[in-house]
Amino acid sequence: MTAIEIPAPAPVATSQEKAHKVFAFSSRWRWEEVAFWVAAAISIVVFPTHLVLIAQILITGLFALSFDLLVGYAGIPSLGHAAFFGIGAYTAGLLARSGWTEPISGLFVAAIIAGIAGLALSVVVSRLTGIGLIMITLGVGLLLLESAHSARGITGGDDGLSGINIAPIFGHFAFDFYGKTAVIYTFVVVLLLYLVARRIVNSPFGLELKGIRENVRRVPAIGIPLRNRYMVAFTVAAALAGVAGALLAQITQTVALSSLSFDRSALALILVMIGGMGTLIGALVGAAAYMVAQDRLSDLNPVYWNFWVGLLLVLFVLFARGGLIGGVDRLIVWIRAKRSKS
């Protein structure tokens, strides 16, 4: 009798391979992301008189992105995130004013200092949740603002820092009047950091953050050091916010107290909600939508502008909690459903 061929059992994927597949899937580039970056690049070419606005949109987007990491991925609500933006801005400004005008190293220093501040804050807040956490971040933010206000000798107080001179990038590309250098510099930095952020969220660490967001009590039960993760999340988010602040200081050559204000912290929340929390690209899209709208409608009475933004917030939170990206996703699902029916 011939031996019955028993087919060899199909190879079982090791857990490593399974994890790899999961991450490969979740980290594929969504079309919204590609669309955004292509649009950003094109607009630099197509709108040569709006370069400063584009740069500021990217900076605000980076700031919102750092906040998304904190609030959208780790689920840590904070009303004091502007503190890190401001720390980065003032660091870069003071550095340049005291003679160290090289921009890229300025960004690094700002990131480090802001990151240290984030680490320090995380130590304090790691045992709080909910309202207590929100309050203490609010309190720290206000405290920092007040201190900066009083420390007129260092920060310039209400008048802010001015006379910040930045050396040309790589010794060659000087910051020009039209903002050409500024916008390309900003574009490259923000894109790089965006890629870094993507890498972070599509990694095991990113999953842990989402776990914290979904069920913070369970996380230690599966062996993840909660406090440690908080600290890393805060530090990274703070460092990114610091870079955003430093960029703003470098391209506008001024720093004002508004970089530390509660308004800016609230803005981060607004942008992330408008764009879509926990999507990374949502932060950038939200920033772009908000600032373009504000620029176009700035002719409109500012009183009315605030009213409409407030109304928009209420409507978004009532009907569109996924923000713009969430809305787009739902639209796509709806279109596909329609197509598959017909």
């Binding site: 802010g160 001015s162 002719d299 500012p302």
Partner: protein, 392 residues
């Protein structure tokens, strides 16, 4: 805040002018305005719009065949990054021939960094810190400086018998300028400053500060608070805490007792001595006409020093445009600016050729009740006073 842009006017104008008129460029002359129209600027934005409307009604909106187009942008308060971006956009996108406006010093400084490389003349309507002018050769100012207006008050205080005073001011550019100028001048006259209090910009409750000052038993106090209404609360609290009963005289910067705010302060303002570059009661036909036109435009509100600064800045801009017959050259513009001397609703003014800053009468006024209305009556004048700190 409106865009003064009417494509139809432009088209009609070009048609008419195309019918064979004379020299070169018939595109409109564009003035870019950066101001704080939002609530951060208080009522300044509204006053600005009213003044511009009435000015163009009086003087028309065309010079030598070219239309004057005014493009406004809101900087949202103290926001130098915004102001700088708006200035860049106005120059690069809208091709403005000159800029005007500016309330807050950081914004003015930021705009200066744009004005100088691009050679765009800037006509400052409001910002009052002295050190803005030095680094920006294309800027000129039509309001006042804190120093300019404060030194005469210190002299007057000493002249009228004050020997010990307490000083309180808001902790930002103009406040620090005013407060420290007062202290230095008063001390130079021979007086003694018992102490100073720096108040945060958004302070609302002054009772503790007032008590501290009262306990020091000064002959008088000097106050600088911004014109947004915190002065109202301050003066009322001073009265509630018995400053008048204690015989402590109140000297302040005119910002606290502007014509628009006096009704809100009420009786607590009577007897206050202030210094300013403008009073509603200034006795000249030009002023009376100005006030009448303004009240008609604003629906009953009186003009303040902010409105007068705007009016004179526009007078200057129109003069400059007329003198160049509609062909604006930045360097020639500044040459003309340095020679400007004319009558303003506040009195005679001139531009100092060295500093491009304003030279004007500084009035000492007392707030009193006249005919049932609270007014600032001029009781002394320091004529054609220059900011001493700018001539170091």
């Amino acid at each position: 805040m409106k865009r003064y842009r009417r494509a139809t006017f432009l088209a009609a104008g070009m048609l008419i002018l195309g019918a064979g008129t004379v020299l070169g460029d018939q595109t409109p002359i564009r003035i870019g305005v950066i101001y704080s129209f939002s609530s951060a600027g208080g009522t300044a934005g509204r006053e600005f719009n009213d003044v511009v409307a009435l000015f163009q009604r009086q003087h028309g909106d065309t010079i030598d065949g070219r239309k004057i187009e005014i493009i406004t942008r809101d900087d949202g308060g103290i926001a130098p990054d915004n102001a700088k971006r708006l200035a860049q956009e106005l120059i690069v996108q809208e091709h403005v021939d000159m800029l005007a406006g500016l309330i807050f010093t950081p914004n003015a400084v930021a705009v200066g960094t744009v004005s100088t490389p691009s050679k765009t003349p800037v006509f400052i309507v409001n910002a009052t810190t002295s050190n803005i002018m030095a680094k920006n050769p294309y800027m000129s100012r039509y309001s006042m400086t804190a120093t300019q207006v404060t030194v005469p008050l210190a002299k007057y205080a000493y002249k009228t018998g004050m020997r010990n005073m307490y000083v309180i001011y808001m902790d930002y550019g103009p406040g620090i300028d005013s407060g420290q100028t007062f202290e230095n001048s008063f001390t130079a006259e021979g007086g003694k400053v018992l102490g100073e209090i720096r108040v945060p910009v958004n302070a609302t409750d002054f009772s503790a500060y007032l008590q501290r000052m009262k306990d020091a038993k000064p002959d008088g106090i000097y106050i600088f608070l911004n014109a947004n209404g915190s002065g109202t609360t301050f003066l009322k609290q001073a009265k509630a805490q018995g400053f008048d009963k204690a015989g402590i005289k109140i000297f302040c910067a005119g910002d606290l007792v502007t014509e628009q705010v006096l009704p809100a302060i009420g009786e607590a303002s009577i007897g206050v001595i202030s210094s300013m570059n403008y009073s509603g009661t200034h006795d000249s036909k030009l002023n009376r006409d100005f006030i009448k036109a303004f009240e008609a435009q604003s629906g009953g509100l009186p003009p303040t020093f902010g409105g007068v600064g705007t009016y004179d800045a526009f007078t200057a801009m129109y003069k400059v445009i007329e003198a160049q017959k509609g062909q604006i050259d930045p360097d020639k513009t500044m040459e003309i600016v340095k020679t400007l001397k004319f009558e303003s609703p506040r009195g005679p003014i001139a531009i100092d050729p060295d500093t491009r800053d304003i030279v004007q009468n500084v009035y000492i006024r007392r707030t009193e009740l006249r005919g049932g209305k609270l007014v600032n009556t001029e009781i002394d004048t320091y004529p054609m006073f220059r900011d001493p700190s700018e001539h170091a």
